[in-house]
Symmetry: C2
Subunit: 405 residues, 2 copies
Amino acid sequence: MLSVADAQAIVLQHARPLPAEITPLSPAALGLVLAEDVSCDLDMPPYDKSLMDGYAVRSADLPTGEGELSVVEEITAGHMPVRTLNSGEAASIMTGAPLPAGADAVVMKERTESVGATRVRIADRPPRPGQNVLSRGREMRHGEVVLPAGAVLRPQDLGLLATVGRTAARLHPTPEIAVLPTGDEIVEPATRPGLGQIRNSNGPMLAAQVARAGGRPKLLGIARDRLESLRPPIAEGLRSPLMLLSGGVSAGKLDLVPGVLQELGVTPYFHKVEMKPGKPVFFGARGSTLVFGLPGNPVSSLVCFELFVRPALRRLRGQADAGPRLVQAALGEDFAYSTDRPTYHPAFLERCETGWWVRPTPWFGSSDLRGLLPANAFVVFPAGDRHHRAGEVFSVLRVDSDDVI
Amino acid sequence: MLSVADAQAIVLQHARPLPAEITPLSPAALGLVLAEDVSCDLDMPPYDKSLMDGYAVRSADLPTGEGELSVVEEITAGHMPVRTLNSGEAASIMTGAPLPAGADAVVMKERTESVGATRVRIADRPPRPGQNVLSRGREMRHGEVVLPAGAVLRPQDLGLLATVGRTAARLHPTPEIAVLPTGDEIVEPATRPGLGQIRNSNGPMLAAQVARAGGRPKLLGIARDRLESLRPPIAEGLRSPLMLLSGGVSAGKLDLVPGVLQELGVTPYFHKVEMKPGKPVFFGARGSTLVFGLPGNPVSSLVCFELFVRPALRRLRGQADAGPRLVQAALGEDFAYSTDRPTYHPAFLERCETGWWVRPTPWFGSSDLRGLLPANAFVVFPAGDRHHRAGEVFSVLRVDSDDVI
């Protein structure tokens, strides 16, 4: 049977970034991926700038750091100096103001003393050329790339784009993700389930997973286990770049979804993965549209989303590092576990002095959503009937964070 | 001068969770904080449930694990059994189907063999009572709290709320945060700045910081350094639960903001904090409305937001752990640094074998937004002219993640 890693590789082979669009740089652009190199349209700072309140001087005038100079101008922020400093001259200058021609250093005010209205006495260490000065273009230079294609936009990046005059940029758009739970046994949450019925928890959960992963969920209602109920919403969902179905993909006689997908032109790439929970997971594509059939049990659905759909969504969004986010963590306590397939078991992951430790949390299987309450991750146990020892290292899938650190 | 920690404590003393509201559990509820204990309206599973395809048996009938039993019923998922098992009887059962009365265990199909149409031969280890059965209410019990007040809603929590029949819940709402950059020197990003002018990078950056921190930004344009330009948008901003101003709060003669705030009834709590960048940072309140005056330089503004506004926003959102997110990290390389106040220096934080390490990134001061490009954090250097050694441990403020691990 296909391994999780091989299945993930197949998914990423078929996922392509959505075509970039010119997008206004509103707060809605936060987290989107830049699809162009953005360069600077001016020098920053635009002139040699004083970093202190004090006096602009010619360093050659003060070889010992002490001396008296003639003050020829007062330069405030937002005004260009009009005088060039000659030998023996200084200009009073404010933080952020432009240096006058001829000056090459600033002496801070605290090291100076006014002598009448037009002279200043300086007692400091010998000034270095460039002291307390930020030279023109030091932060960024006209024409230089300040933010490269591939950047995932953070608030500071949006600030930087505004600084270089951008109000819009080429960004990969937010992918629309169609969500369709299927099954005769599903009732809406407001309904009290009868015998053999379960409430639709996958619809709201998958929609929220999509939103957390940077997609825009499009809920298509609930489809029943009949061809005429499945066809119209599946056809509609295939107009989105990615469609999620849940339920209807295991091998039972009522599992009609793969047939409808093939009828509508979807090429299947896999239908089973060697894992627990969630062996029956379908992946296919029609053109550039990706289709996932997730198992109906809610924990299976959640895990399969994180393992297979989230990397695809990252790739659609244009993220370079689309692959799974696994960390290696030491088991916090002995844990006996028996399973016939590699199993993603709910767990609590925590930082410790020497890295990560992980503790499996109580869990009653793929329908037990409540068991996820104290969990923030899934620890991967190998197949077999084993007694794992505290300190043994396992791969762990983080689900409550997309951070790589 | 007030320390950062003391200033943060003052902010949190004045910040209160926004009153909870009944809110639909759409994907927009993701990340909001639950303001009620939610309990379960049914038992899950609703009956003793088989975890395997196989045969429901009375364990007392199979003391050695071997025997032949009469098959009295076939129980499929979604149908209640009609017969009670008597001694010597078994029922064929599907995964997920309810156990018949009298049965206390399930033998998996692989350990059985049909004998004609109505009998089954079993060859297994002696069945334990409860074997392969998930008993009624084991996942959750009618009336039991399944999600407590204070939970920050994740996708799996929204799934759980749907499972217990909730389509709405009492949640603390998304706080609306008013954003008002001030200053005669500010021009819109589409404009080419003239001498002494800078583009409005703080408006877009602060709005995105608000969105990232779970608030809803409300941009109020740009106010000029005149009373008549400041008063109307400040009065409007004070109708939001939190208002952010940038610029206009240092001690210069044009810094009119604190005066206007006091005139409009805002009580000032602090106006200076011992830190760099960003010493002049104002905090006050009018009733339950909080007001922050952030410094105009973009990096100062960003750091002050993360240190003071973000904890306030967490508290408004109802988060219990509102305080700052500091990690301790070892310096990755020697670093000489001279500063007269505790300084938040841009840095790259990374996980290593033994915890975190941090490396300061090149930076030209509080106007240098571009210097933040390779940074994901700020390392806190103490005042003094010091040569810090690789391996020394410093506090680090993470800015690109709200994770505590």
